[in-house]
């Protein structure tokens, strides 16, 4: 049995579901960012797998995966800076305790 496109897409869907579960159940903002990284990895697997099996001669999937990796690095830097700012002013990084704008 050869490995096909469906195998990769199923693995990516499972990884995406795990990342979503982490985002929904974590209290720690850093751990929520880890869940987001898992979801972005799942999308990258999808992009590269489609490139391999639907258009093997093209490189568009690789290019978009590289753009996603770049934006993931930006998102991690800004997100973790926000976590640092929240920790400095509110002395907590648990998202269920940061409720200044909730009434």
């Amino acid at each position: 049995m050869a490995v096909g496109l469906t195998h990769y897409l199923v693995v990516a869907a499972l990884l995406f579901g795990l990342g979503l579960y982490g985002i929904l159940t974590r209290r720690n903002a850093v751990a929520i960012l880890m869940g987001i990284e898992l979801m972005l990895n799942a999308t990258n697997i999808n992009l590269v797998a489609f490139n391999r099996y639907v258009a093997p001669a093209a490189v568009a999937g690789h290019v978009f995966a590289l753009v996603v990796i770049t934006l993931a690095a930006c998102e991690a830097a800004v997100g973790l800076a926000l976590v640092m700012a929240a920790y400095r002013t509110l002395e907590t990084i648990h998202v269920d305790e940061i409720n200044l704008m909730k009434w």
Partner: protein, 163 residues
């Protein structure tokens, strides 16, 4: 046969640490488990013939982002102690929502007839990626470099001590 074995091993290497990432009560253990998960994804990229993306994945994800996350855990030690509850009360809704979405994705993926194209991969596509970035995808290239610059400055401004 060898490809299937490699695929199964790399998928397990990706998914089992990912389970630890989302369920572990120890945040440092969760952050360390990200690294084997990223390396498993790297292996899947190599299996798919995307060597350049695999190299960038190791550099950016397994190198930079994992270290960044560990540093922030170190700097915010008040929130990451072992005695602190790390999971909220949404465990059951979380399982239901994530499980339903994943099941939906899997059904969708398995039942769709994808327009597969046969054809051999080029021996090396690094040159093609560089050419594509500077011709067809020049706008995406320029915008992502701009976003990179803005987020660098923004992260410095936000994390600075006094505003």
């Amino acid at each position: 046969m060898g490809e299937l074995a490699a695929f199964i091993i790399l998928s397990a290497l990706t998914l089992i640490p990912a389970v630890v990432v989302v369920t572990s009560g120890n945040v440092v253990r969760a952050a360390m488990s990200l690294i084997p998960s990223f390396l498993g994804v790297t292996g899947l990229f190599v299996l798919l013939g995307a060597e350049f993306v695999a190299g960038i994945q190791i550099l950016i994800y397994a190198g930079a982002i994992a270290v960044l996350i560990l540093f922030v855990i170190m700097l915010t030690e008040g929130g990451t102690g072992l005695a602190i509850r790390q999971l909220n009360e949404q465990r059951l809704p979380g399982i239901v929502v994530a499980g339903a979405l994943t099941a939906g994705f899997v059904v969708l993926v398995v039942r769709t007839a994808w327009p597969l194209a046969a054809g051999a991969l080029p021996a090396s596509n690094v040159t093609a990626i560089g050419t594509a970035f500077l011709t067809d995808f020049i706008l995406a290239f320029e915008i992502s470099s701009l976003v990179l610059l803005v987020s660098l400055v923004g992260a410095l401004v936000i994390a600075r001590k006094e505003l």
